[in-house]
Amino acid sequence: MTQTLKKILASLVTAVAIPMATFAQGATQAVTPTINNGNTAWMLMATILVLLMTIPGLALFYGGLVRQKNVLSIIMQCLVCVAVISILWIAFGYSWVFGTGFKESGGLLSFFIGGFDKVFLNGVTPSSLTTPANIPEIVFVLFQCMFAVITPALIIGAFAERIRFSGFLLFTILWSIIVYNPMAHFVWGGGWLQQMGAIDFAGGTVVHINAGVSALIMAIMLGKRSDYKPGKPISPHNITFVFMGAAFLWLGWFGFNAGSGLAADGLDANAFLVTHLATCVAAVTWMIIDWMTNRKPTTVGVCTGAVAGLVAITPAAGSVGVLGAIFIGMITAVVCFCMVAYIKPKMGYDDSLDAFGVHGIGGIIGSILTGVFATKAITGGAQGALYGDWHQLGVQLIATGFAIVYSAVITYILFKIVDKIIGIRVAPREEEEGVDVYEHGESAYC
């Protein structure tokens, strides 16, 4: 009886309250924006997709490419990246990148980071919105968190099979703080590259060039795996994993790119389209090159081509159309293939899983080609060299060059520091018998 009464009362209250609330909203609409449910639903979804890229996507992709004695070390590194970087991001990473505390005060620190005003998400409530998409700021924090997570995880491919877990952990934490956060602030958080007009829709400079160049430095500094000989690849232990990882990356990348407009609208639909198209073109191009040069189209080849295409279209997804997507996919596959098949063996460094060859080079090409193929039809303003505007290409070159130099220099310094404090490379015996057992006390298949 009381239950029914309560129900009736409750429905009465809502019946009265709803029109009142609507009225109140109508009165203050000009001042307080209301939450956009459609955008929010899509952004929650996109956030999940981006997490899928790191676990299990990257973990499987990289895990399949190493030998079976080292697969757990890769999985652990991806897994721990997610956990540790997420904590750092919520503790202060978000504030450093997107905070505005230093905007007025100025000074040297304000050049690198946004501020300390949002440390531990101070002031971010369920009702605070990120404009203009009008999604809850909490969703924005989480979406960006997944980007902060995957970026250091990409570097894992360069030092696979020979890094100490403790060294990796310290390096990754420091790298995220000193390389990722400032870079993300420059490009996305209102820093100088953003003010200059650099286009980086979903992370070509911040994520891929940044991680790829650091990967190259790490691979060179750490030295070759003891049994690696340039030009003689060490064969992957499980290509089925490589395929599953690539598939998860492809799938997740739709959240990565089509989510980066923070809205469920036409621009994001276009990002979805060009992401898919460029990836398909890159995968097919890689297959054809493989077929022509080695007489056989390979599974690992198509997976690698697809990932290269995904990387390259990332900065361009919000500014190119179908034409740009096709050319970006094609050019990237050709250049990345030459990089990993011919140039890497010649140079002699051991980038175990081609983190630089695919992410670094793919990112650099994508970032520069954005300045070529950007079209007014998509961006509404800026356009590329193909359409007669050379200014954007110049801006893209500056952003790309800066990202390369910044991450290379800081990574070099961080390597020296971490190597001094705890040592980065495993002992020869551990490397020979597998880091899984020595570093983690486990073995994947027995």
Binding site: K69, S226, D227, K232, V437, H440, E442, C446
Partner: protein
């Protein structure tokens, strides 16, 4: 005819393979093997630590004519050596007979091709 069973470090396999090919040993089979030894390695499962003495090595099986035994042994030994404990062993085992299934040839003849002996 002798059968050589060589237990070697996994990391030396590529070098041993090269060495055997340079010594004109054209075919052999190999396996991933696990053995017991003095070395202990801690494993951990959900907070519980336990010891295994599991040691992973590669086992190479190759059957050669008597005249090739020494050069094969030298090739494997040189390529598999690191100087550390755990480099492995080579066992030499007499083989009574062999048959080439395709032709029915027996003995030494079944081990090599006539044209490029």
């Amino acid at each position: 005819m002798k059968k050589l069973e060589a237990i070697i470090r996994k990391s030396r396999f590529e070098d041993v393979k090269e060495a055997l090919l340079t010594a004109d040993i054209e075919w052999f089979s190999y396996y991933d093997v696990r053995g017991q030894g003095k070395m202990r390695q801690a494993r951990i499962y959900r907070g519980v630590c336990y010891d295994t003495s599991c040691i992973e090595r590669t086992l190479i099986n190759v059957v050669v004519r008597d005249k090739n035994v020494d050069k094969t042994i030298t090739a494997i030994q040189k390529a598999a050596q690191t100087g550390e404990i755990g480099d492995g062993r080579i066992f030499v085992i007499p083989v009574e007979d062999a048959v080439r299934i395709r032709t029915g040839e027996r003995g030494d003849k079944s081990l090599y091709d006539e044209e490029n002996k």
